[in-house]
Amino acid sequence: MATLQEPAAPASDRSYWGNVWHAVKSTAVGMGITFRYLWTKPFTTQYPDERLPVDGRYRGIHYLEQDLCIYCQACAKACPVDCIDMGAQRHGKELEWEFFSIDYQKCMFCELCVYPCPKDCIHMGEQYSLVTEDKSDFLLELTSWQGLTEEQKLRIAEAEAAKAAKKAAAAKAKAAKEAAEAAAEPAEPEEGKE
């Protein structure tokens, strides 16, 4: 059986009526302040309806200037979480895009993909709300067109036409040359053929 002892009484620096006055006054002052705030206009912006502009440095969802991109894969190699994937076919200088996707389940918006880009064509955007009910929606496709644009097709067609014309011209020139040679030495081709 242990003996019990008294604890020391806590010290107070205010008198009884001082405490009462302090409590009443501080409550009244505080309620005055909250009452004033009750009638001030709220600072809230109603988010999905109106959005605050984000800062220029903000790192949101990427956007790609696809016509500048040269499919060098520098951004994909720089990505620390390997969330960038792309595919394209080269037609000479033109690119036939298959996809350029970023998996936002992995992406941590570190901006490391932006710096290595030689053409400065991938940027961090201002979009930040990526809300979905389906996880597969997080695999975002950044290309604005796939395959070739009409312009590119036209250019390729022109290039090929030019090439074909060139080829045809070359063939024609060759044929002409041959014809000229044959005219100069008519006996030789027959000998050569045999």
Partner: protein
């Protein structure tokens, strides 16, 4: 009984509801059938009132909280300022799964919300909403309300013990300590208006505060210098009794998860929620009835005898009570929660002695009045 007694309390007798039912029901019914019908109908009315009130008050609380913190509160459910938020919450609570823990003390766990809500409902019986709009005009209306609302504590302790969760139990113990302490100043602070009106009946108090165009309120009476501090004492004790901030230690969410109703979900949680708002309204209504003139307001007496009188009186009473409910919310979002030892010190060292002092002053004032003006 000696002859020198003051005249007996001349409370307006009768109950509008019972009279109405007596007119509607066929003649020749036995008394108990009439009484039973009256009880069921008044229960339905009170329950509907509390349910609507709880919905409105949750919405109001969020709006008040929001605007005091310079934001909007709910805005999106329903077209105008999120008015349907409380409805949506109610539907959600009804649909949610009603969990009962396997380790809980099941009878207590299931009984607790019913005890809590039924006591809140029972206390509304003695509230006068208008001159005759009272379910039971009891002689000891105020005493009845205090007594019945003290049982609410039991539901809370049952919930805390039955949940078999240490946070719930801490909450319940705090509730037991707090409510048992604050019942004393609450009861004592009601004595000042009781001494002024000379009756424990709220209906009588309301009737005494009519006159002079409905402005004979206790706070405007000759004893206003007693009425105002005594109302402050009453309001503080009522805040503690209803577990509202800054006295919301039984459910202080930053320390005790949610206190005694941590383990409740679905409809049982909704019962606790309804009880909280019902108790807030109840205390505000008692304050209104005793200090702020019950259903009286300037100009109401001009309409005496017209059809408009009763609805306007009820509307005035409900509006004044809701204003006090708003003050409770206002206090909640102003004053930080205080420590349990501060709660005890406030109750025992400050409120109780100050209430006793006020009682002494009120009694002396009645005596002085009797000597000076003759009574």
């Amino acid at each position: 009984m000696s002859a020198a007694l003051p005249p007996a309390a001349a409370a307006p007798q009768g109950n509008g509801l019972t009279e109405l039912l007596g007119g509607l029901l066929p003649d020749g019914l036995p008394f108990w059938a009439l009484a039973l019908t009256g009880a069921v109908v008044s229960f339905a009315i009170i329950f509907a009132f509390i349910a609507v009130l709880a919905m409105f008050a949750t919405w109001l609380e969020r709006k008040v909280a929001g605007h005091i913190q310079v934001r909007y509160g709910p805005m999106r459910t329903g077209a105008w300022h999120g008015w349907a938020q409380a409805l949506a919450d109610g539907v959600k609570l009804l649909i949610k799964e009603d969990l009962v823990l396997t380790s809980a003390d099941k009878p207590l766990f299931k009984l607790a919300p019913m005890v809590v809500l039924s006591t809140a409902l029972a206390a509304f019986v003695a509230l006068p909403f208008g001159p005759n709009a009272i379910v039971a005009d009891l002689d000891l209306g105020i005493y009845f309300i205090i007594a019945i609302s003290s049982i609410t504590t039991f539901g809370v302790i049952m919930a805390g013990w039955g949940s078999n969760n240490k946070w719930s139990l801490y909450g319940a113990m705090r509730e037991a300590a707090q409510v048992a302490s604050y019942e004393i100043p609450l009861g004592l602070s009601l004595m000042m208006p009781v001494m002024y009106f000379g009756s424990l009946s709220l209906n009588h108090a309301g009737a005494m505060q009519s006159g002079w165009y409905g402005m004979h309120w206790y706070v405007f009476s000759d004893a206003f210098w007693i009425a105002i501090p005594s109302f402050a004492l009453f309001f503080t004790a009522a805040l503690a009794e209803t577990k509202r901030a800054p006295f919301d230690l039984p459910e202080s969410e930053s320390e005790l998860v949610a206190g005694f109703h941590t383990e409740y979900s679905g409809i049982r949680f909704a019962f606790f929620f309804m009880e909280e708002y019902a108790a807030m309204y109840l205390m505000s209504a008692v304050g209104t009835a005793l200090w702020f003139g019950a259903w009286n307001f300037p100009g109401l007496s001009l309409l005496e005898g017209t059809v408009l009188h009763a609805p306007l009186a009820v509307a005035a009473f409900v509006t004044k009570s809701l204003l006090l409910v708003f003050v409770m919310m206002w206090v909640r979002w102003t004053v930080p929660r205080i420590r349990i030892d501060q709660v005890m010190a406030l109750g025992y060292k400050y409120l109780t002695p100050l209430c006793l002092l006020m009682i002494l002053l009120a009694a002396s004032w009645e005596w002085v009045k009797a000597i000076a003006f003759g009574a």
